[in-house]
């Protein structure tokens, strides 16, 4: 991390450290600002909150949305839970994998809450439903 990054990290920690339950808001803000919660950031957060590094690591590694290093490729989260399976998501996966090859990472997620209108996927903070092969491939191409 560069010095200026450390400055931002300090500001993020300062903004949240006096809240009840400051760890998750800090992790979320750090992930948002830096695209990851690096090992160095985890140390600094642990120190600032008087937590062990193991505690911070335990929380950060439990949630898949916190990553230790920035994502090199855009992530497309495709719901693979029961309702989306029943609505045919598995049949879309070969085409999705072809569309993603070399440009995006496909990650399974287990339920976006769009069970009645699956197959569903999420890119960034946007959710998309009623996907077919063409729409899912287009999402991946634009991710």
């Amino acid at each position: 991390m560069t010095t200026s990054d450390n400055g931002d990290l300090g500001a993020i920690i300062a903004a949240h450290k006096d809240r009840d339950g400051p760890l998750l808001p800090i992790l979320q803000a750090v992930q948002e600002a830096f695209g990851c919660v690096s090992e160095a950031a985890r140390r600094e957060i642990a120190h600032a909150l008087n937590l062990s590094r193991a505690e911070v690591h335990g929380v950060a590694s439990f949630y898949h949305d916190f990553t230790a290093a920035p994502r090199e490729r855009p992530v497309v989260k495709i719901c693979r839970a029961e309702a989306c399976q029943a609505r045919g998501v598995e049949a879309l996966m070969p085409a999705a994998e072809r569309a993603a090859e070399g440009r995006a990472v496909l990650e399974p997620v287990y339920c976006l809450g769009l069970c009645g209108i699956g197959p569903a996927a999420m890119v960034g903070t946007r959710v998309h439903a009623r996907l077919d092969e063409a729409r899912l491939a287009a999402l991946i191409a634009e991710a």
Binding site: R19, D20, L112, G113, L114, C115, G116, I117, A120, R126, V127, H128, A129, R130
Partner: protein, 120 residues
Amino acid sequence: MPVRISDDASARATGADDVAAAFAAAGADVARVSSWGMQWLEPLVEVDGIGHANVTPADVADILAGSTRLAIGPVAEHPFIARQQRLTFAPSRWPISRPPAAGAASPRRGGSAPGRRSRR
């Protein structure tokens, strides 16, 4: 009379933002509201209490001209809604109350003194 379009995840995932933008571009007063919970009808567009299901931007002109091609009747009388017992909020208000406009002062909640920030 505003055109009521949900802005919950199921509506937005099925294109409600584009539909709302098309209504606004056509000069309609658009209110983004909570969803009735009928995902399969989203984007559900409510005009004078009458629902229009699975609306796309291409349908906007028709709906504003009074076409009933996509109309499903009064949303509150839809069998999925009519058979439910609504336990929270007054049925006459829910889910048709309009949230305060962005930037407007939020209504004060019981128990918190003026100016005091919630710790939650």
